[in-house]
Symmetry: C2
Subunit: 260 residues, 2 copies
């Protein structure tokens, strides 16, 4: 009788005890999560501000992604948000093309595309180089470009074909060096790009210029040859800014590196 | 005896039962959260892409914030992230000012500031108008501006004073109408701004021009008067783009409205 009562008591204590145990564990988990959130939110805000100010062209000429923001940039550049942001930019170009341009159809309507991170993605390269967190090593980057393994940015490939089908001449103006021409052409064709009118790469004579000036010189040449540049699509402000400009310009997101 | 055994059995069942009940509830909560996350993430990606493409100047001339994104823009414009993004832009101006400019100190060094959402915040007004989700009603907005109750953007106020203390002349170029001059001056002084060299507002003669052209005309006038414009700070691309430009321009975030 006594042993039974004791057993009942023990079971009662166990029941009540287990409920309180659960309660305490839940409280501890909650407290821990809240703590982690606060500190990780501060870093997230800081790194997101860095990224946004790069996109706004307020932060310029950076050599590397700040060490503490490598994970944030990696997360963005490999996210559905990066794809969504790029696709929305492409969608806005489509919208613009439906209303913008009284195309003359005389072979002088032109559109300019940047190559890297506009037509082709360099993410597979930067994935091995801390997503911009390591200072760019030109020879290692060029070795990768020589392998012609850069994938297409699918949304840009679709736009490229739509613009070409409108009879607009497409000019690719890239800061890649002339020595990479055959590898670049192979890469572009392998992933589905063909039918461009010009592919401008940097010759030795262009290397004394900053990239923005070099790209302006190319646009000047096109304008002097009677082309009407309806638009520019690029991931760097240096592909878009300066004179002569285009009727509209479109900036794709890219916070892994800065080319001036 | 039998009753005791029965009681022991009941307590055992209760103990085991309570554990399984907890387990099931936790599983249900987890499943529900995952479901909600997927759908809300899609809308979040969509609205964040809209906002980013506004900041990149890929989306232009919008009348209202898309209805489905009002909550997202409200969340951003009232967030620590908006403050962090703005403060980082201001911090980059400070950095630029330490190295950019061989100030002549001849009274011809100049800096241009936009007024709304650069020096003063219109968030208290847009808070009552769906954060840009309602088409702007000029007379209701001007009535609010007449009340001179716009708060300062603290980080810009600090920068304003630092630039002034360097002996750089500050010019405020705003798309507010000339009829709002006294209310604008009262508001600026009330919140701590003073000592600017010029406050340019839109006269009747400027109303045939788009805001960007009007602001370019003002910069032309400054340049013709011998001023060196070291920088422009504004929240709209129309405050920053066009010729003559400044040595550097800085864009503050604002996705509530678009002024062309």
């Amino acid at each position: 009788m006594a042993t039974n009562s004791a057993l009942i008591l023990v079971l009662l204590v166990l029941c009540i005890g287990s409920v309180f145990a659960d309660w305490n564990i839940l409280k501890q988990i909650k407290r821990k999560n809240e703590g982690d959130e606060t500190s990780s939110n501060n870093l997230k805000n800081y790194c997101e501000s860095w990224r946004i100010n790069v996109e706004l062209n307020n932060i310029r000429e950076f050599d590397v992604v700040p060490h503490e923001c490598i994970d944030h940039i990696k997360k963005y550049m490999t996210s559905a948000q990066y794809i969504a942001d790029s696709e929305r930019a492409i969608e806005e170009i489509r919208l613009y093309l439906t209303s913008c341009c009284s195309l003359h159809g005389d072979g002088k309507d032109a559109w300019i595309f940047d190559v890297d991170d506009t037509l082709l993605s360099t993410i597979p390269y930067y994935k091995k180089h801390a997503y911009g967190g390591e200072k760019v090593n030109a020879s290692s980057l060029e070795a990768w470009m020589k392998s012609s393994k850069a994938p297409a940015l699918e949304h840009t490939l679709n736009l490229f074909n739509e613009i070409k089908n409108k009879g607009v001449k497409i000019f690719l103006v890239s800061s890649r060096r002339e020595t990479l021409r055959s590898n670049t052409v192979d890469n572009l064709i392998d992933v589905g790009y063909h039918g461009w009118t010009g592919l401008q790469l940097r010759g030795l004579e262009d290397e004394h210029m900053k990239v923005q000036q070099y790209k302006c010189e190319e646009r000047k040449r096109l304008v002097n040859n009677g082309y009407r540049i309806w638009g520019i699509t690029g991931d760097q402000w240096s592909s878009i800014e300066g004179l002569p400009t285009a009727k509209r310009t479109f900036k794709l997101p890219n916070s892994m590196y800065y080319i001036s």
